[in-house]
Symmetry: C2
Subunit: 214 residues, 2 copies
DNA sequence: CGATCATATGCCGGTGACTGACATTTGTCG
DNA sequence: CGACAAATGTCAGTCACCGGCATATGATCG
């Protein structure tokens, strides 16, 4: 699981990148995203500002690193998915999401949770988070549309519906973790799964509200 | 329809605000959102930068003014909606959106279209647009949740589904307008309605993809 | 009509995110 | 070890944005 088979250079880069994320999350959480300055972050990691911007495209970018990691895994999973049987409904977006979460490295849930907490009190982060999610959506729709031609709209709507459920699940999970933070560590991947199942279970119920039109 | 009944001060303020939006949209479109500078905008309107920031909270804010206008109308419409009959499904989010669009001032569709075109080639604007949409979602869910207690998740999912359809409709409309821009003016509210109907008609079809689970 | 007051605006200086150009260090590999 | 490439640092500059304070300009009332 560790960085075996990597050249020294690559190991160093990985270390720097991780240190930047770690320190950024710590400082942003301690002093607030808007208050903490980038200079403080790079000073803590002993790296120049210029270097920071070679790793991350913006201050927001580093704060959302855990989230981007997840979506990268999600898209990767999507891309190497075998074509589904003809006529069967297109990929279960939700299942792929479970897979992606399950595949994340150890300790990811902690960083992700911190990032989410930050997001909840920082409008600028919400904006960037949603945009990235939208970009992922576009890519996945393009992928899916390649198979089921002419169905892009339905596919997009289905995916966005699932993503809305995902966001709700994460939000609940985050709130729950914050509440029980005093008790134990708080970040629990199983708890996230539970929330996801709960949210996805509500999807068919949406049908009722959509179709019941008097 | 004009600004009758307004004090001179208020009329002046309205003029300045409109001029700022108009000039901003023009300059951003001409030279690009990232390239055009705020100084150019305020110079064109002959206003100080400080004044600009008393009207708009950011560079992005002014570029998305038409969209914010619409969502403000949407929320306002929602707030003064009579409580629906007991047991009936909660508000038709889509119908309220039609109403809101219909209620916009003359020439709004032109500004909105320009703003959308800008959005399509400016990631920073996408981010802000999505965030604002999310904030509106939160407010509406809070409103709706007040009546149908315990159903917040289903309401939220339904609303977000509708919003996804709305975004698709707008995107199609924008593309269509861009294509036919050479021919005539391009901005046509009826065409937008058509796209909205088309998108909303696809909503029940999403059900199929969600419930068909093998 | 003019005095007075509230509000809108302008000016100034500062901060902090981000960038391009160029010099310097540091792994890599023959 | 020596040459090459990749990573990092330095520096100066741009631009969005904000607080504080002075100024101007409608509103209001005697």
């Amino acid at each position: 699981m560790t960085d075996t088979g990597l050249t020294l250079r690559e190991r160093k880069k990985l270390r720097t990148r991780r240190a930047l994320v770690e320190e950024a999350l710590r400082l942003f959480t301690e002093r607030g995203f808007g208050e903490a300055t980038l200079d403080e972050v790079v000073a803590a990691v002993e790296v120049s500002q210029r270097t920071f911007f070679r790793y991350f495209s913006s201050k927001e970018d580093v704060a959302l690193a855990p989230e981007k990691e997840l979506w990268a895994a999600y898209v990767a999973e999507m891309e190497r998915l075998p074509p589904p049987a003809e006529g069967s409904p297109w990929p279960r977006f939700e299942e792929v999401l479970f897979t992606a979460v399950a595949g994340m490295a150890d300790g990811w849930e902690r960083r992700f949770l911190v990032s989410r907490a930050l997001c909840d009190r920082t409008p600028a982060l919400v904006a960037h988070s949603l945009r990235h999610c939208a970009e992922v959506t576009d890519r996945v729709v393009a992928l899916a549309g390649r198979r089921s031609r002419g169905d892009e709209l339905r596919i997009r709507l289905t995916l966005e519906l699932m993503l809305a459920a995902w966001r709700w699940a994460v939000h609940q999970w985050s709130a729950e973790a914050a509440a029980s933070a005093a008790a134990h560590g708080g970040a629990d991947r199983e708890a996230l799964y539970a929330r996801m199942r709960e949210a996805f279970a509500a999807l068919p119920g949406v049908v009722a509200l959509v179709t019941e039109r008097g």
